[in-house]
């Protein structure tokens, strides 16, 4: 496997709340090799967004990193100062594509003003050079008439076109990693496929890696090289998409994929409900719902083991 660009090791994050300490992330491992698209999948509340916020350095003020490191291009992002994160990492070395293209653009400024601001913040090449670079990017994201587009307002673009603008924004400062947070969940399927194709092409053309957050296994199957599955703040299984989707190993992954309408003939669901981060079960957080749970699952969280091309955190494979 290629050298990892992003390397999250045993990340644990908790946030104090009125009801006690919420242990949002409890040991997350993630590896994004250079030039690959890695999907992060999980149900709501599993900690996908907290993981993304940790990488971007925009955790809520009260959040506490208890353990772990986020290695990116040879540095630990958790050790950088907020100023460093703002100046060198967020928006520059790591680009971000938001979920809702209808909310992410300010309706009262032209898209050119908004996209050029990102570049003015991070580079000092001068306005003309920025504009030329941006027009080139808009051409790369296949936006019709890129020069005129910069002087138009967000409402003049369709949802798919707005997402293209935001993708251009994410690429504006020549990032090495792009984080996309469910970038197509607000789009129709035909538009979604066009955006996924575009992302796939841009990843090889601009030589970036991508962290793609989604809850849709179908989209993972279409786009991602690798996939990491999260449950209640723990990473449970990670590996090449085909291996994980065709023959999942972790009981949670197996049961979740069996809930997908393409596979689910009996619609079994998963008994029980997701563990609360306020009072999480000890050890593997899935054990209260797991049909293969043993007494040892209550103990320390199982270490990741390498089985059939992928990493699994489950005692069944220990």
């Amino acid at each position: 496997m290629a050298e990892a660009l992003l390397h999250v090791d045993g990340l644990r994050i908790s946030i104090p709340t009125d009801d006690g300490l919420a242990q949002i992330l409890d040991h997350v491992d993630l590896e994004i090799p250079k030039g690959r698209i890695v999907g992060v999948v999980g149900e709501s509340g599993c900690g996908k967004s907290t993981l993304v916020r940790a990488v971007l350095g925009i955790l809520p003020r009260a959040a506490r990193v208890d353990e772990g490191r986020i290695g990116f291009a040879g540095e630990d992002l958790l050790k950088l100062s907020p100023a460093d994160m703002t100046r060198r990492i967020r928006g520059k070395a790591i680009g971000f594509i938001p979920q809702d293209p209808f909310l992410a653009l300010n309706p009262v400024f032209t898209v050119g003003t908004q996209l050029l601001e990102i570049m003015r913040w991070h580079a000092s090449d001068g306005r003309a050079a920025h504009r030329a670079h941006l027009v080139e990017l808009l051409r790369a994201v296949q936006l019709p008439d890129p020069d005129a587009a910069l002087d138009r307002y967000p409402h003049e673009f369709s949802g798919g076109q707005r997402q293209r603008l935001l993708i251009a924004g994410a690429l504006a400062c020549r990032p090495r990693l792009v984080i996309a947070d469910e970038p197509t969940s607000a789009l129709d399927v035909t538009t979604q496929l066009q955006i996924l194709r575009l992302l796939r092409d841009l990843v090889s053309r601009f030589d970036v890696s991508m962290l793609f957050v989604t809850h849709d296994f179908g989209v993972v199957a279409q786009l991602c090289d690798d996939v990491m599955v999260m449950y209640a703040g723990q990473s449970v299984e990670a590996g090449p998409t085909a291996a994980v989707l065709d023959a999942p190993k972790h009981p949670y992954t197996q049961m979740l994929i069996a809930c997908h309408p393409d596979r689910a003939q009996d619609l079994a669901g998963i008994p029980g409900s997701v563990a609360s981060p306020l009072k999480p079960p000890s050890g593997c957080r899935f054990h209260p719902r797991c049909p293969s749970a043993k007494p040892v699952c209550h103990g320390p969280r199982p270490a990741q083991v390498h089985v059939a091309e992928r990493e699994v955190a489950c005692v069944l494979y220990g």
Binding site: E43, S44, S158, G160, Q161, D188, V189, T190, T191, Q192, L193, Q194, L196, R197, R200, H215, D216, F217, G218, V219, A221, Q222, L223, T241, A242, L245, D246, M255, L256, I257, C259, H260, P261, D262, R263, A264, D266, L267, A268, G269, I270, S273
Partner: protein, 329 residues
């Protein structure tokens, strides 16, 4: 199977206004000449991208949106052409489950009061009879009867769906219009809600119109599927036939673009052209012609009729005889 509900040439115009000293703003033809039938006990899927008019079609059939033209027949009796209040009375057998369960429930009302209101409006009494029906319907949808003392914010997304289902089932409808019944639900919760819908249909002998944009769910749940594009139905067929061999070019494109849980599907295999035009500027003739790889000049002139073809499906395309090896009936 016997026909239970049928619509013919249904047209619903939305909006539009005359403006002082300015050009009139024309209404949007949200539903534009839709004909379809619902057979007793079946699940009919209505599929299309956002803005294609599938929700408006549901609301018009329900009677809360008045049709501009066309007829709705329930058990062979015409129930259209009347004001919405009368329409709802005539169509009491048809009930609707809103797509956003949290928005459909009053946060200040307990679940029991919400369910009771539905019965009071429909003249069910006395109080003990209503209470008995509420307890039974809560058990039917897999909730504990004590749920009636709780409030919407205390319930999870899956439980809220069950409450919105309970609210219509308490009225003992025969037809339930489900508008995106699992949108916004997690995969594991979606599976349990879909299973509940299946069980309720079998137990209570319901007929569903299942409005959705998720083709995987539709394939699993529906007996027949109608595909809509910009206010018109372009193809209807039995689910298995539609997914195996789509005939209309739009159906072909939609199926090719839909994400499936199959690895190695190839991101670039399907031909996708353009984005859907705005509902305020529907192209002349066949609305799909601007994105259709098979479009010819004739497609811009006349709206294709929904032809019945050999394997029981209907297709609205000028060129289907060349695209499909099937015969007209």
């Amino acid at each position: 199977m016997a026909e239970i509900l049928a619509v013919e040439g249904l047209v619903t115009l939305l909006g539009g206004e005359k403006r002082f000293l300015r050009a009139e703003r024309p209404p949007v033809r949200a539903v534009d000449g839709v004909s379809l039938e619902l057979r007793e006990g079946e699940v009919l899927g209505v599929v299309g991208e956002s803005g294609c008019g599938k929700s408006t079609l549901g609301r018009t059939i329900l009677g809360i949106q008045r049709e501009t033209a066309g007829t709705v027949r329930l058990d062979g009796r015409v129930v259209s052409g009347v004001d919405p209040r009368t329409a709802r009375q005539m169509r009491r057998d048809v009930q609707y489950v809103h797509q956003d369960a949290a928005a459909a429930l009053d946060p200040w009302w307990s679940i029991g009061r919400t369910l009771d209101e539905a019965l009071v409006i429909n003249g069910v009494g006395p109080g003990e009879e209503r209470a008995r029906r509420i307890d039974r319907v809560l058990r039917d949808v897999g909730l504990d009867p004590t749920t009636k003392r709780r409030y919407p914010h205390e319930l999870s997304g899956g439980q809220l769906r069950r409450v919105t289902l309970a609210r219509v089932l308490v009225l003992a409808p025969r037809i339930v219009l489900l508008d995106e019944p699992t949108s916004g639900l997690d995969l594991s919760v979606q599976a349990t809600v879909l299973r509940l819908l299946r069980e309720l249909r079998a137990e209570l002998g319901l007929t569903y119109m299942f409005i959705s944009h998720d083709l995987s769910v539709v394939r699993l749940m529906c007996d027949r599927v109608a595909i809509m594009y910009l206010g018109r139905i372009v193809e209807t067929a039995e689910t298995a036939k539609l997914f195996e061999s789509p005939v209309h070019p739009y159906t072909t494109m939609l199926l090719a673009a839909a994400p499936r849980l199959a690895t190695g599907q190839g991101l670039h295999a399907a031909a996708i052209h353009g984005e859907p035009p705005s509902a305020t500027a529907v192209p002349s003739g066949c609305a799909f012609r601007t994105r259709c790889p098979h479009a010819i000049d004739a497609c811009a002139v006349t709206v294709p009729t929904l032809d019945l073809i050999a394997d029981g499906r209907r297709v609205a395309c000028h060129r289907w005889p060349e695209l499909a090896p099937l015969e007209r009936v």
